[in-house]
Amino acid sequence: MSGTFTKSMARNIFFGGTVFFALLFLALTFDSMQAIPKRDNHANLTPSVVAGKKVWETNNCIGCHTLMGEGAYFAPELGNVYKRRGPEFIKAWIQSQPTGAPGRRQMPNFHLTETQLNDLVEFLKYSSEINTANWPPNIEG
């Protein structure tokens, strides 16, 4: 870099650029907050869904699965599992773990109560109805 471009110029560009883009990001965030309610399925955010989210979190489901593509990549995507498998299959599946099949990936049994299972299913139903811009590409997730 030539001598005409000084350190103080670089510093000013740093502060100016950072402030400008941080403000732009805040503006976009503000706009997103207005737009998200049209897509986030909050109408179906029932007490059962809220409880289900807690079941999801306190059993660290994200440690193996993805939810809308975010999480670990060891086990299937669950953002659309409600549409893929339906409520009864999900409950039966969770209750029958671990399979114990030799050499196969194992899911622990979390000893969920019937209420917790229903709440979790409600949470997965709510999640599957969020407008995700048509992601994932197909039902397999």
Partner: protein, 459 residues
């Protein structure tokens, strides 16, 4: 060492390396579980191993950053640390809190851990990378605030350099954005939106300021190039980082219920995110080529150059690979993401912490540089770990491409586990590369115990 209080950095660096070893061991367990699904089940289920793997990574990098700051700030400000005692106290607090948290993950079912640690008071647990119990999260905030107080007080009474300023801004930013980990609304879209304010604004935002400052500091020391020149570069690099990285957050807002204009904002700005990393590579090589002294610590110079190259490849190239919305539509949440994550974290953050350790540790042990023999060994560890990471990344990328094809792109998509079964060969190869990485890390640790000859005495 110029200032005696710099010595508080030493335990931080030792802890960082110890936790790094733990991280890699759990990585190998998980890698094996990818192919031998019931390995160590039910003692260590995959989700527990992953939590330990990623949390140890974060904690050892934080130890590295804190050690780096305690080492650098006295030299940059030309004054002793405000309170070395406080720094040592916080070391033990952080280490004990970290160890207790990991033991909690390993010994107690996660739901029970949540119940006993106050998750019912404020629900923050069970989100990727932010799995820590409430108590640990509060502990992190306390340690960070005391740490920042200590350094800010040091800064106020001493010389204010650009490197010091950029470093402090990065560290303050780290603490401020961590506060979003306490915000966990029931609305999943809102939860995810602000979860990224911790995760993305850390690694593609404020952490890059820390990265730049550490690299600039070491380059001044090992090349002897004029501070004015290096600090000017630093400002240019961190400008590019934040200008691209802040709006670049948008590449996480494609498919989580956020407005679709983010597909444009996210794609365009994150496509520019490789530029600061490219600038960092050019910067490192340029400064080393223009060096005005032959510093005896060749290993540190190698790590500094490696940081530039590997962060550009891992964060820059592998990030760009799947950041454009039409591509990300197919690759989102696959092994492609894992490939990028591994090389980016290693190339940018693991390597820059090792760079500062490589430079500072010999000085903390009373010599300008380690013996020739120890340095050769350290350079072997550089190549073993770095080449291993390249292979880990390539095998995961191959697995990811195949996964995308089988599960998402082909005319007849197959279920997740059916696709996984066909990726086995790549997972085995990745595990092999992982073993090579572990060997490299063991060689690295061994290099600290190779005797120094008397040639290079304290500078």
């Amino acid at each position: 060492m110029q200032y005696s209080s710099q010595s508080v950095a030493k335990p931080y660096f030792i802890a960082a390396i110890g936790l790094f070893l733990g991280q890699i061991l759990f990585g190998l367990i998980m890698g094996l579980q990818y192919v031998i699904g019931d390995f160590l089940f039910p003692a260590i289920p995959f989700n527990v191993a992953r939590m330990v793997h990623t949390n140890l990574l974060i904690v050892w990098l934080l130890f590295g950053f804190m050690g780096a700051a305690y080492y650098m700030i006295p030299e940059e400000t030309e004054t002793e640390l405000y309170s070395p005692k406080l720094a040592l106290l916080m070391f033990w607090v952080f280490l004990v809190a970290g160890a207790a948290t990991v033991l909690g993950y390993l010994l107690v079912p996660y739901a029970t851990l949540a119940q006993y640690t106050g998750n019912d008071i404020l629900e923050t647990m069970g989100r990727e990378f932010l799995e820590q119990p409430l108590l640990t999260k509060i502990g992190i905030v306390v340690v960070a605030l005391v740490f920042l107080f200590n350094l800010t007080m040091t800064m106020l009474k001493g010389r204010k350099t650009s490197i010091g300023l950029v470093l402090m801004m990065g560290l303050w930013g780290l603490a401020v954005f961590f506060l979003f980990s306490f915000y966990n609304p029931s609305n999943l879209v809102m939860d995810k939106y602000f979860w990224w304010w911790v995760v993305h604004l850390w690694v593609e935002g404020v952490w890059e300021l820390i990265l730049g400052a550490l690299l600039a500091f070491v380059l001044i020391k090992v090349t002897g190039v004029d501070r004015e020149v290096i600090e000017k570069w630093l400002y240019v690099i961190v400008t590019l980082s934040l200008v691209t990285g802040i709006i670049g957050t948008g590449h996480h807002y494609f498919w989580i219920g956020t407005p679709e204009y983010w597909q444009w904002w996210g794609s365009v700005f994150s496509a520019l995110e490789p530029i600061p990393f490219f600038a960092m590579t050019v910067f490192a090589f340029n400064m080393v080529n223009r060096r005005r002294r032959e510093h005896p610590n060749k290993a540190a110079t190698l790590w500094a150059l490696g940081t530039g190259v590997m962060s550009f490849l891992g964060a820059g190239v592998w990030g760009f690979l799947h950041t454009l919305a039409p591509v990300n539509y197919y690759t989102h949440g696959t092994q492609i993401t894992a490939a990028h994550g591994h090389m980016a974290f290693y190339g940018a953050y693991a390597m820059v912490v090792i760079t500062i350790i490589s430079y500072a540790m010999p000085i903390l042990r009373g010599r300008a540089a380690n013996s020739e023999k120890a340095q050769v060994m350290e350079m072997w560890s550089f190549w073993l770990m770095t080449v291993a990471m390249v292979f880990i990344t390539l095998f995961l990328t191959a697995a990811g491409i195949l996964q995308v094809w089988l599960q998402r792109y082909s005319a007849t998509p197959i279920p997740f586990m059916a696709a996984q079964d066909q990726l086995t060969i790549f997972y085995w190869l990745r595990e092999g590369a992982g073993v090579m990485f572990l060997i490299g890390l063991l060689v690295y640790i061994a290099s600290f115990f190779v005797g120094g000859n008397e040639k290079a005495k304290a500078a």
